[in-house]
């Protein structure tokens, strides 16, 4: 019986340590008096999807560096407070708690996936700190799915799932004149499911027919079984809204098996590694919707790509672009608000109209989703080639 009393003693010890930690935090340093403006980062820097988070962080860091070089915002330098959420929802909650309560940030960027953003969004709403997710595309990130109310502190830099799916649904039926389509979904990702759903709706609305719906999971490597099944159904196009790592393998294996019809997808495809994984030849006759094209000749895009290459010695992927733009959005909001008060930043964010970013010109609608154009890109002979631009 007595043994269990001692862990109470240990608990007491821990409690005292924790109290020590808790009380030593800087007090009274309200945001407006501080010399720098602190922006929090709650991203997946370790764990399963560390690749997404660290790309977004690269982009965000570059943006901060550029803004600070130009003299910062409202005469103050921007500073990033970085917290890793280890690709887990509960750690995402804790990361944003730390950023808000210990680092006293005025706004938070994160997380890279919809699930982890949802976890963080509850805290952001409670503490009234604006949160911008660079790539959380699920509709329910900014709108409470149970009450249907817009979460007024939550914004996003990417477009929502339905838009991309709709764009590709139209493209498949109208431009490619496809009558039948197969859908191959990443079942471990809500993003993929969302795109697939709206693609299906739009494609069938255009008179097309979905012949089969299949799914895979992240980190799968062999897709031949399902591809054989899809080949058997003989669709005109195959829609694979997933991330490049798996999609690259799917396209490669599909082409090897003699599937020649076009593969279609979304922004998750955008990565230079696609060429290495799938191979230039296999990628011919594949199309995807994206926020921007690195082949885009607009000065914003070209300047960004050049600076990014100089800084990190690699071509930016989609996550890096969105991380970069998220910082730009916050900086713009602070500038417009003339203050770094979280509530004012929130109001200014909601007001943003025709703000030029690398990933397009952003205006927020009433559900805090950016209204911006999408581009459709074709992979052709080892290069991304710009196909069309679709306005919402």
């Amino acid at each position: 019986m007595k043994r269990w009393m001692v862990f109470l003693a240990i608990l007491a010890m821990v409690a005292s340590i924790i109290t020590g930690c808790g009380s030593k935090q800087t007090s009274g340093n309200s945001a407006s008096e501080a010399k720098t403006i602190k922006i929090g980062i709650d991203l997946e820097l370790s764990g399963g999807v560390a690749a997404f988070g660290s790309s977004a962080l690269d982009g965000a860091k570059l943006a901060v560096k550029e803004i600070n070089a130009k003299g910062g915002v409202l005469g103050k330098q921007l500073e990033l407070a970085i917290a890793d959420n280890a690709s887990k929802a509960e750690e995402s909650t804790r990361a944003i708690q730390k950023l808000i309560s210990d680092d006293k940030v005025v706004a938070v960027i994160g997380a890279a996936t919809s699930g982890n953003t949802l976890a963080a969004s509850t805290v952001a709403m409670e503490k009234k700190i604006p949160l911008i997710t660079p790539s959380g595309t699920a509709t329910k990130v900014t709108v409470d799915e149970r009450t249907g109310k817009v979460k007024d502190y939550i914004f996003r830099t990417c477009f929502i799932d339905p838009f991309q799916g709709t764009v590709m649904g139209n493209f498949a039926a109208k431009d490619l004149k496809a009558k039948t389509a197969a859908i191959y979904i990443d079942s471990s990702s809500d993003y993929s499911k969302g795109l697939a759903k709206s693609f299906e709706e739009q494609f069938t609305k255009n008179g097309g027919q979905i012949v089969t719906k299949e799914s895979y999971q992240q980190k799968d490597t062999d897709f031949k079984a399902v591809l054989t099944r899809i080949k058997d159904k003989n669709p005109d196009v195959i829609y694979v809204p997933g991330y490049y790592e798996e999609v690259g393998k799917i396209i490669k294996q599909g082409r090897e098996m003699g599937i020649t019809v076009p593969f279609l997808g979304g922004d998750g495809w955008d990565a230079p590694q696609m060429f290495e994984i799938a191979g230039n030849e296999a990628l011919n006759n594949t199309f995807f919707s994206n926020h921007y094209s690195s082949e885009d000749t607009s000065p914003e895009v070209q300047k960004f790509v050049e600076n990014f290459k100089k800084e990190y010695n690699k071509v930016p992927d989609g996550f890096a672009v969105l991380g970069y733009d998220s910082v730009q959005l916050i900086a713009e909001a602070i500038k417009n608000a003339g203050s770094a008060e979280p509530t004012k930043i929130k109001d200014a964010l909601a007001q943003i109209k025709n703000f030029k970013t690398v990933s397009g010109t952003i205006s927020y609608n009433e559900t805090h989703d950016p209204i911006k154009s999408a581009v459709i890109i074709e992979y052709k002979d080892g290069k991304q080639s710009f196909k069309t631009k679709v306005n919402p």
Binding site: S187, Q217, D222, T228, Y244, Q273
Partner: protein
């Protein structure tokens, strides 16, 4: 009928990769009864060494076949050394501790290799060079088979036979079996237990590395977390066949591959892993030590 045959070929080709990874797993287990959770990550390291050396040799302008042989040998050597170092540093001090403690250390090593990989290489997936171009063959009209699939099955079978010969016909193999049977008695008989265990780890890790290079070539990609899922699947395959039994790993791997492919091919790809685990559990319930495992009676 063609559809079924094609899916069977797909299943065997997935399964032979599982089998290839499972060989090293089951061998280490058979000798020192350690579930080496780091096996999948040594597989990853092997793939990385193969990736770097293949790029290096390709630049030198070697013939594809030599690029393949050089890079797979180099990666096997590097991984064998790594395996021995890991054993010496992390597992040896725990040799007399409970097996579950070594298991935790193995999990620690696994985390270390994965996150070390993320730190030094970066978390993004990257392409793996196609060392030997694939050739496609067509059988009976539309059934497809490629040179890689044949190569993997062949290599796996060959390695299985080789491993079986090493364990059962050579002196070091005899020492391994003795150590596995009774470590202390083996020591008393003048067998150098440390050398034997090091040799086990060297062979096991070299096998993992070979699997890593072949895997990289087949799926054209590499990332630091690539070892987790194949490692788990290989473990399942090894248990299916009866863990510690070398031919069991081969059959277990093929069996697992065919089950997975069958589930996917009839349209239940969402449930693939679930069904694979359910069948594993069912088999274990009716045959508690795997398909080929001997049911050893415990002495009282």
């Amino acid at each position: 009928m063609e559809y079924i045959t094609q899916q069977l070929i797909n299943g065997i080709s997935v399964g032979s990769i599982y089998a290839l990874i499972a060989l090293g797993y089951t061998m280490v287990y058979g000798i020192i009864k350690l579930i080496n959770f780091a096996h999948g990550d040594i597989f990853m390291v092997g793939a990385f060494v193969g990736l770097v050396s293949a790029k290096m040799f390709q630049v030198q302008g070697f013939d594809p076949i030599w690029v393949f042989i050089f890079s797979i040998l180099l990666s096997m050597i590097v991984s064998a050394i790594l395996g021995v170092i890991i054993e010496r540093i992390a597992y040896k001090p725990l040799r007399n501790a409970s097996r579950i403690s070594i298991l935790i250390t193995a999990i620690g090593v696994s985390f270390l290799l994965e996150n070390g990989g993320i730190f030094f290489i970066g978390p993004q997936a990257q392409g793996f060079p196609e060392i030997i171009p694939k050739k496609q063959y067509h059988l009976f009209g539309s059934i497809q088979l490629d040179s890689n699939q044949i190569m993997i099955l062949g290599v796996t079978f060959l390695l299985m036979v080789l491993l079986q010969l090493i364990v059962h016909k050579t002196k070091i193999g005899k020492a391994m079996r003795a150590v596995s049977f009774d470590m202390e008695a083996a020591h008393l008989m003048g067998i150098n237990v440390n050398t034997t265990i090091s040799a086990t780890f060297a062979i096991g890790s070299a096998l993992a590395a070979a699997a890593g290079v072949i895997y990289g070539m087949t799926y054209n990609s590499f990332d630091p977390l690539m070892g987790i899922i194949p490692g788990l699947k290989a473990f399942v395959a090894a248990v299916l066949g009866g863990i510690g039994i070398i031919p069991g790993a081969f059959i277990g791997g093929l069996f697992l591959g065919i089950i997975e492919t069958t589930v996917s091919s009839i349209g239940y790809s969402l449930w693939r892993d679930g069904v694979a685990f359910a069948i594993l559990i069912l088999i274990l319930i009716f045959k508690p030590s795997g398909l080929f495992g001997k049911n050893v009676r415990e002495k009282v």
